[in-house]
Symmetry: C3
């Protein structure tokens, strides 16, 4: 990249106060350990001050309390990490430049779709009848959007994502490649002849400012909808089963699965590789650490965990076999005590 | 939806006996907690009777023993949940209407493919040479079907699914979006120059009435085939490795992985997020609960489990560290007893 | 398959010495348990000798020490499993025949892409501006390759895989269907208005002879790149988060997730369904068994494990509840000892 920006306009764009030369030229963004001359970096706490002092960074996003710790150009913010996030947006938009809205001639767009101003549709995308694409939405190559879906303004759907019929996505969302929204929930009734499919008559309803990761699946509801609220962020390889409801601004890390009809509150943070059983409720402000097994409702905010931490295999084989006798062991100790 | 159906034809379609007015008009399907006037609902046991009595549902699918518990129109079946499943099919087909079989002109279909009557192929699908598509099969947009695959009658392959060369899918199957059938199994031989690929010469053989979930992968066999038997249902995000065999009517929930050459019997029910190691056998009628680690063969029918249940993180940190000393603890108790 | 090859040319192709008739005709490859007349098989150790003696295989790849254990045609190699791997390549290439390089007329290829000699591009693939495709690379149907990606010679990208802008893939790689390379890492800064996206400015850098499984995701780096070194093999449904680095020849089995900024050394073997937390380091030559939870750095080579092994559900329920009291139990035993 040959990006070149000055600190003055950067400070304006991210909402920072500048201390030092606003004409300092920035040619890269770097973490504090990699910041060379020409780089802008950021520090989020005092533990990075030593690295800052020995760094040759040209500028730093920093909180006011550390203002005297460096002589490079400082961009002062209460929350430097947020400043860094805003800077990445400025940087990405600068590099990308103005992209005119285009509709590729190989895209297959039904005449009965409604396409707002400024919409881009890339090669081989498929837009079925009754689809509504909001202003400046972007549809990547190979994306499928089924009948009657509604996509909000500025939402970006990356290449090869799939949205099945009747689903709703709000504005300012991002749906990454390989994601599948609105596939049938896993509903089958046992019968004498095997499994009888329960047709899934609901859809998926996604709020505004939602991010759905690559290869993440959100199933359509059985009767009512599956609901992902405003501001939710889902990482890659997540499975959200039918009729799950996820509250505002909840974040879920990769490889986590949520079984059917479970409700997760607002502002929760769920780690990676967590499995959450069906038909339970997690209240607001719950944190679940990585690799946990959530086998019951959680009714109090706080941090919860489970899982067996790593150890040498030889030691694990001995300990694991004892797990099978843990109840017996506990009863033996009970007897010894009495 | 502006669906409107009468109870008489519904009862005929699902095989129920009607008690009450066959002209009762139904405009929605609802679970018992959401059933308003105009809705048909179902109850699967006595615990829903209170809700039924206070419901304003217009009709209910119910077993004979509860016939006097409501005055709304009753559709009597031995298995009301099966009645509900059949009703969803009627409902979905009614809403969808008759869809003429069409082959989209942007689909890429090899001249040497054999396409039966009534087959639909959507935009940008790719059908390679030697493919056989059975009567009334549906191929969604962006689907890839590789050389020499055979797809049975009435099978539906949803948008952006991928079937690699030489695989066989029976009739009345459903393969959901993002699924990948017949990718190479993970076979490599160590050599002095690194990993030497073992070309996977088998294929995937899928029976009739099988459902494969979104983003689920079933790898082709190394020499012989990977086999999914009739009536198997696989949820989303499942990984089936090479040369796995799954018996009839077995159900597997989302995010479960089955490693290579493992055999799973018929009528098993495997929960979500289960990991099953390779080269083992599970006999028929095994149930594995969610999040379990299946590290050995299971030779007796029944329910099996493993996993560490959730607790507050502070408590978990204390308990988890003790796990590393469980063998030692057990030996200490043994000494105390003697 | 009607493949028919003679043992002489096979021995030449895989680098084996032949004992017996080089004109022995081979019509199938089979594992020792399935090898009938006309088949070539292989044995990797003495435990297969009994099966070999009762087998009607026409040829066997075998080490010199077992040369007198059979009278069928023997192909002698130090490492018969490697011989089998090489044989599968010969077999697959023989069956496939010579495939002329073709560019399908439905592919969407930007004028500003650079396509080397011998490249094949299948139907509905999308190649954006600035892409460089190396000699004899193969791009499957429906593949998306974003702006500025570089793909090395002989690399095969299977149908419906997705490579986002700016990523680099070396030569002799394979990327399977449904894989997504270069989606945004899961980076968001908390703010008073919810999550603020951190634009991911790095890319993914993949070495030579790398295999990426079906539906596996490798996220682009936040600032620096995510790096997959030469010779790495990744199975299906793996999640590699942003700024992970994986050393040479490391193998990872299916359904494993690696969280952000973790470094995995060279020649590691990670089992299936393993979850590895972020910001840790695994040194070279580490083996992690299936279903383990890697919650800390590993600084010594060797085998590591964790996880609760399967048991009958009734027994598990008793043992699992005791896990919550394991710390207390340990303290009780401590008191009893003193």
């Amino acid at each position: 990249m040959t990006t070149s920006l000055k600190c003055g306009p950067i400070a304006d764009a991210i909402g920072a106060e500048i201390v030092g030369d606003p004409n300092t030229v920035i040619t890269s963004i770097a973490s504090i350990d990699h910041a060379a001359n020409g780089a802008i970096t950021f520090i989020t706490g005092p533990k990075y001050l030593a690295a800052l002092r020995s760094s040759s960074a040209s500028a730093v996003i920093i909180s006011r309390q550390f203002i005297d710790e460096t002589e490079c150009t400082r961009l002062i913010m209460d929350n430097p990490y947020l400043g860094y996030a805003r800077l990445t947006r400025v940087w990405a938009e600068h590099n990308r430049g103005v992209q005119p809205a285009t509709v590729h001639n190989s895209a297959s767009i039904d005449d009965a779709a409604i396409i707002a101003e400024g919409v881009s549709i890339d090669a081989h995308a498929v837009i079925e009848a009754g689809v509504i694409l909001g202003r400046s939405a972007k549809v990547g190559a190979g994306v499928f959007i089924g009948k009657g879906c509604t996509i909000g303004a500025n939402t970006v759907i990356h290449p090869n994502a799939t949205l099945l019929h009747g689903c709703t996505v709000g504005s300012d969302c991002e749906i990454h490649s390989g994601a599948v929204i609105g596939a049938d929930g896993f509903g089958f009734a046992p019968s004498a002849d095997g499994w009888e499919k329960i047709y899934q008559l609901g859809a998926v309803q996604i709020g505004n400012r939602v991010s759905i990761g690559a290869c993440t699946t959100v199933d359509r509801g059985a009767i009512e909808n599956t609901v992902i609220s405003d501001g939710v962020i889902l990482d890659n390889h997540i499975q959200i089963a039918h009729n799950v409801m996820i509250g505002k601004n909840t974040a879920i890390a990769g490889c986590t699965g949520v079984a059917g009809s479970t409700t997760i509150g607002a502002n929760c943070r769920i780690g990676g590789a967590v499995s959450i059983v069906g038909h339970i409720k997690l209240c607001d402000n719950v944190m679940i650490t990585a690799n946990s097994f959530v086998n019951n409702s959680v009714t109090q905010p706080g941090s919860y965990s489970s899982g067996f931490p790593l150890e040498p295999s030889k030691q694990w084989r001995k300990n694991a076999v004892r797990l099978h006798k843990l109840d017996e062991l506990s009863r033996q100790v009970g007897k010894l005590k009495s």
